[in-house]
């Protein structure tokens, strides 16, 4: 965990550099191979590239809701992102971003952006309400670092800490598809509202504890607040597996105990066997 080097950049920012294309609202980007899961480039990472494009064309800073349809696997290499300003209102703007590789659309994103620090329109109407509590975890310094993910490039770019190593990692899935853990960018980059959606898809899927893998079909993320600096307390859980599909919910709480993002995805069950061998070393590169 280090501050950004003088004159340097954090990995995420250096590896998601969008270059404006010849047409308005179009961008070129080289999709990095350093943010991949088992089978292909992480879906949240592709969404993060699209959100950077939308951030460049929408007049508000915070994506309050983002939905992505995963049409084809993403690959490392060149991509083109097209954007559309669907509607710009007084407090909310709506946009679409599409990520193309080899002329084919791999990801379709729709989103609404607003300013999460603006005074609520109806702040007098009802007080804030929180119906559940953040994950109950010891301080990160008292937790174990999740090891064994070094064979997945994504696993080197984030750091995960929990109270124990998960069962699936040693080939003994617990049968309980849920997890609570700390998470942060391994190089210390602070999370922000443009990267929180990525983070909701950047941890091991909860269905690993059922002995299954996962391929995302659709991911929707609500960003509820700008995160305070520091570690993020995360909770993932799957409640329904049926007919070869499952959903996964993911909550991200900041160091001040505020829920900053919640997501749900619909995904296909994949064979567990394809996840191994993970190989490689844990830790940052």
């Amino acid at each position: 965990m280090t501050a950004v080097p003088e004159g340097g950049e954090f990995d995420f920012d250096a590896e998601t550099r969008l270059v404006p294309g010849s047409a308005d609202g179009t961008f070129q980007v080289e999709i990095s191979d350093r943010w991949s899961g088992m089978a292909s480039v992480n879906g949240g990472f592709l969404m993060a590239n699209c959100l950077k494009a939308l951030d460049a064309v929408l007049p508000f800073p915070d994506p309050i809701t983002v939905s992505g349809l995963y049409l084809r696997p993403g690959n490392a290499g060149p991509a083109v992102i097209t954007t559309e300003l669907i509607r710009s209102g007084r407090t909310t703007a709506f946009g679409r971003a599409s990520l193309f590789q080899g002329g084919k659309e791999a990801l379709r994103v729709t989103a609404a952006f607003a300013n999460l620090t603006a005074a609520p329109l109806n702040s007098a109407v009802t007080p804030d309400y929180t119906g559940i509590t953040p994950p109950k975890l010891p301080d990160p310094s008292g937790c174990e670092r999740l090891t064994g993910l070094g064979g997945i490039t994504l696993g080197r770019r984030f750091e995960y800490r929990g109270t124990a190593q998960p069962g699936w990692l040693s080939g003994h899935p617990s049968g309980e598809p849920s997890a609570e853990f700390w998470m942060r960018f391994a190089d210390g980059r602070p999370a922000d509202t443009l990267t929180l959606p990525f983070i909701t898809d950047a941890a091991p899927p909860a269905v690993l504890e059922l002995g299954a893998g996962s391929t995302t079909i659709e991911l929707t993320v609500h960003v509820r607040a700008r995160p305070a600096p520091g570690w993020l307390a995360c909770r993932s859980y799957t409640r329904f597996v049926a007919g070869g599909y499952h959903e996964e919910d993911f909550e991200v709480w900041d160091s001040a105990g505020t829920l900053v993002a919640q997501s749900r995805q619909l995904a296909l069950i994949r064979p567990f066997a394809s996840l191994f061998p993970l190989g490689g070393e844990a830790g940052t590169e």
Copy 2:
């Protein structure tokens, strides 16, 4: 509760008749004023019209995931729905539908369709899993009918039954933004995978129990199975209200105890006062 009249149609089907437009994949429809909430046409009803359009252009029968961005309030009157086949794969097809009124886009829907009765690709991978149980409700015949919604046209087209009248209805919100109740089309129309997304948005919002109203910004629905005939057991809950926004989760369980749909929406808090007077009579028209 009646079977469909001989030679007749259920209300929903009669009032969502799409007429193919001159361009391929374009439809004209007269948006009915008989499926409205307090302020405007119900958002789930608008989504249902878009799903009928997508059903006409996509090669699979069941919308497994649907996301809608609510750009402008919908009004009774003419509308045009345009569609786009984004990608058609071997087991899943992806599409977009946009609903326009007066030349302005009111709703943008993206969806994936599949065949929920097809054999799962990875059925041998992991058994089905259900982490929570259906709402615990007495048989519908032993429940009270929710009254007092007759002033909202939507409230006459669905029937809701629970163990007690909700607090908000008598001006005494409980402070607990959750509810469990039975629900069905008032004229006995069976629910199907094309109408389940509508149903997740067609009940009183849970935040009424916090003394607040609600306007949907974004709604995502996962349809998990084709529903068995009969009453639907529903559960709605809001866990986070902050900065003028709230989410609402909604589960729909069929008469066989299977989760058939789950949804989450992001919505703006609205003043409660605008919800009254409800007036009118409960019950079907």
